[in-house]
């Protein structure tokens, strides 16, 4: 029961901090998804909107946490309920975000010169060529996890005949098998498929962020150097994460074939390492990217995503005239997809379907915690 409490508390706190502090990590000129002068965050109106948002979100956090704790202590908490509560929190935080977003938009309409978007764009073709060169270099590195993938497949295929009829398909945080399935091509191949899916997704994301635009002025050496350093850290962390995950799946395959437990140290590392990557990425963002953008904040570039008209609630970007698949998010750190492009629409639809299926399955196959 204690473990359940800690996992629940940790997850809720992580979600709460990420959502409420996303505004502090948002790009220049973006306030709750609206393009505003960069002084707005420090203005009395801006501070009041944030305070209101924080109060609502904190209240929602404590209410859901209290209800969850009561259910945990009375042994009524299940995995399905945990997922449901997380969903409820996300929906509530997003609703409060929409309220704040609308307040900022209403205020923007009262401004005499609402947008101070730069109309100029400077492109440095040598800088672009450098980005492409590095993009391709990091992309070819993914041949290594792909090779590990193939070797895992061969290893499992070779040993398929010798596997028992009931095979372990999930291991807990102590490395002990806690779920079994009847042997089938699918249940064994799923390890290889997860490896492949992860490798392909990470390779694609890593490649895409080199193509993504940035607000910094390409006239500035400070911007170009900082931005490249940041992109290199992003690529490297994605790559190391891929190698880690693919290798972890190799341990899973070995445990499946030999019927042994997973090494506890390995499972611990696998749980901890993604967080280490997040910390590394945040560090790189504040050390290289943020200062590089601030170096040119008075001469920023014109970007199509600076226009409010292409954004739905400051969260979804829809611009069919923009060929870019990924653009910087307006709220929080990272990129979002341009659902105006055919590929963007396809990925959005697939993601939505996968989300509904996995959430639905998880809630309906709920187990007591």
């Amino acid at each position: 029961m204690n473990m359940t409490l800690w996992i629940t508390l940790f997850t809720y706190v992580l979600i709460y901090i990420t959502f409420t502090y996303s505004q502090k990590l948002s790009p220049l000129h973006c306030y709750f998804g609206v393009y505003m002068p960069d002084t707005f965050a420090k203005s009395s109106e801006g501070k009041s909107i944030f305070k209101s948002f924080l109060i609502h979100s904190t209240f929602a956090f404590f209410v859901t946490l209290t209800i969850s704790c009561i259910l945990i202590f009375t042994n009524h908490f299940t995995s399905g309920l945990l997922i449901l509560f997380i969903l409820v929190q996300l929906i509530l935080y997003f609703a409060f975000y929409i309220v704040a977003h609308k307040k900022v938009r209403t205020f923007k309409m009262t401004l005499s010169s609402p947008q101070n978007i730069s109309a100029k764009f400077v492109i440095d073709t040598d800088f672009v060529a450098q980005k492409i060169h590095l993009r391709n270099r990091y992309f070819y590195l993914y041949l290594v996890p792909l090779m590990i993938n193939i070797l895992t497949g061969i290893y499992l295929f070779d040993n398929y005949k010798h596997l028992p009829e009931l095979i372990p398909t999930h291991w807990n945080y102590l490395g002990q098998a806690d779920h079994w399935s009847t042997k089938s091509i699918w249940s064994v191949a799923s390890i290889v498929l997860f490896q492949l899916l992860f490798t392909v997704l990470m390779a694609f994301c890593s490649r895409s962020q080199w193509n993504a635009r940035s607000k910094g002025n390409q006239n500035s050496e400070a911007f170009k150097n900082g931005h490249l350093k940041y992109l290199k850290v992003v690529s490297l962390s994605f790559y190391i994460l891929t190698l880690f995950f693919v290798s972890f799946m190799v341990f899973n395959a070995y445990a499946l074939v030999t019927g042994t437990n997973l090494n506890v140290f390995v499972t611990l590392l696998m749980s901890v390492f993604p967080f280490a990557c997040i910390i590394w990425l945040l560090y790189a963002y504040f050390k290289y990217e943020r200062p590089s953008l601030h170096a040119t904040k008075d001469s920023t570039q014109y970007l199509p995503e600076d226009n409010d008209q292409y954004w739905l609630l400051g969260s979804l970007y829809h611009n069919p005239n923009d060929p870019a698949l990924f653009v910087e998010k307006r709220y929080g750190l990272g990129w979002t997809m341009n659902i105006g492009t055919p590929l963007g629409k396809l990925i959005a639809i697939i993601t939505l379907i996968v989300l509904i299926i996995t959430l639905g399955t998880a809630i309906f196959t709920s187990v007591p915690l």
Partner: protein, 126 residues
Amino acid sequence: MQIELNFASDKAIYTQLYEAIILAIAKGEIHVGDALPPVRTLAEEIGINLHTVNKAYGLLKDAGYVTMDRRKDTTVSALPVASNTMQLSTLQSDLELLAAKSHLMGFSEEDFLSYCSNYFKQFKGV
């Protein structure tokens, strides 16, 4: 090379791109044999439609400033650019218009030639 585009200008983006690349070649910011960025890369970087970049590259190719090789790379052509009678005639009429505007604004012939001379000095060695 650095290209500056102005989205508030009346001049179409493809024209701005076309003219900026010609200037860059003349000033030696990009050399004979150098490749221009791929169409998709440039379009994604700026955030404009691929057709806009294609149009600019197409105009450059038709005028002889660039060639497209088998691998679909767009490279700067050897100088001087091969020009036909129609291109020379267009250049002359552009020059006539420029001279007329300068004259009507009060430029003297010497002023006009001095400006031209300064620009040619920038292009020297290319």
